[in-house]
Homo-oligomer: 282 residues x 2
């Protein structure tokens, strides 16, 4: 496995692979790998000849007061894990390599960013869409892999790729959970043992919502209120949002139909956690 | 020569050319060809195996009250002219093909768009950058050709391509002029015979500015005022801007140094014309 810091060096590696008719898979990450990341890399390994995983804590997707500086990093451990699942190249550029001082081009994906995290983190998805497009242009992969835990991010990237005719297949991958249900996240490392227990309220809420639907709840608003009350029962949890939305447009829905996403953002102590599930009506 | 309306059809043509190791050149246009356009196509013909010229009057770069509806169109004549200079494929998609109803992704190129036309046509360069990136992603050319008459457009595209790591060479081509000096423009077709004569005030101003510099003028402000007075002497002309700017950043300059651009926007009757020149200090 190679570790590459420079865009031009990575371009050469990918270009010689492509000249040899090899397919290329990209797994864009911010590092501090967990099983969720590794599941993306394994899928990329199965489906491509050359697998590139990028590690870049993208400053322009963090707002003022967010956790850019304390975001967890461990490149040595990440490199070992990536190699263990068959990644060929780690691409880990500096901020200066990605954003020279003259940098001034940004992507705005409208409408779909009005809800959920987009509504609470101004500029976040602008930063995400911009860095992902840069990575897609640098690597020019056949396929790029994204986890469904960041569901809105996935939808923003799919929208951007379709709108701008970017020649890549975006491959969504299911959320990977701890055995007790907690969705894997690099930010779980912030949790104290007590908070770690409280954090289960997110996955429990998703299960509870499915139960409510199975029990006959058909109003999006009722579902939301029930889940808000359920979470309020957990003393360490503070709700940022509980949203019942259409799974494609991310617009609020009044009736629970087939394509419903329940998206949660809950603070446990100082840690902001998200989770979601597609809910089905039997 | 083929004429193609659908993105997928164009992708197939380009992709089979590329599989045969052919280089691809793109000339993005809004049609109604003049010698300026043809000079881009001739350059593309010389430097590439496959030449694609796109014709698309891009609605999202026109503001309210601008000339989208009356913008001149003549596809049959354009096709003949393109074929005469060796273009292989005309790509002329519909607005619906380029912007389906779900479309919601836009590019913002900041700073460089604060001056000149960017300051007067809000959203114009957003529309330009977005459509050019779409065309680059659809065609994936080795080289794309842009005229220097739309100097700020060229700079916006160069900035966007560098910032987003788009793998293409942007090739700037010099302004092509009528024998009396008028810069070629599809919008020249709007001019009455009398207006056509008045329109020479633009190219004359550029020559006058070089004379002033050769005569010792070193202040950007003085140069601007002299040219404004010069244009005021032409009864049919109404100044939108006369700007003395740095040729890379497009920021105003107080002293006339080596890398100065004089950019003009003058209305002749109802027709908005632009012209520019790089000025040199002997």
């Amino acid at each position: 496995m190679q570790t590459v810091h420079k865009i031009e060096e990575l371009r050469k590696i990918v270009s010689s692979a492509r000249n040899a008719d090899k397919s290329v898979g990209l797994v864009p990450t911010m590092g501090y790998f967990h099983e969720g990341h590794l599941s993306l890399m394994r899928a990329a390994r199965r489906e491509n000849d050359l697998v590139v995983a990028s590690i870049f804590v993208n400053p322009i997707q963090f707002g003022a007061g967010e956790d850019l500086d304390k975001y967890p990093r461990d490149l040595d451990r990440d490199a070992q894990l990536a190699e263990s699942v068959g990644v060929d190249v780690i691409f880990t550029p500096s901020s200066e390599e990605m954003y020279p001082s003259s940098f001034s081009t940004y992507l705005d994906v409208e409408k779909i960013t009005d809800a959920l995290c987009g509504a609470r983190r101004p500029g976040h998805f602008r930063g995400v869409a911009t860095v992902v497009l840069k990575l897609l242009n640098i690597v020019q992969p056949d396929r790029a892999y994204f986890g469904m835990k960041d569901y809105q991010q996935l939808k923003v990237i799919q929208r951007m790729v379709a709108d701008l005719n970017v020649p890549v297949d975006i491959v969504p991958m299911p959320i990977v959970r701890e055995s007790d249900g907690l969705a894997m996240s690099s930010r779980n490392s912030y949790l104290s043992p007590e908070e770690r227990k409280s954090a289960l309220i997110l996955s429990k809420s998703l299960a509870r919502a499915q139960e409510l639907i199975d029990g006959g709840v058909t109003s999006g608003e009722e579902l939301q209120h029930e889940i808000e009350e359920f979470i309020a029962g957990e003393p360490l949890a503070k709700i940022e949002y509980v949203s019942v939305v259409h799974s494609v447009t991310l617009e609020s829905v009044s009736n629970v139909t087939d394509k419903i996403l329940l998206a949660l953002c809950v603070h446990i102590g100082k840690t902001r956690l998200i989770d979601n599930a597609l809910l089905t009506r039997g």
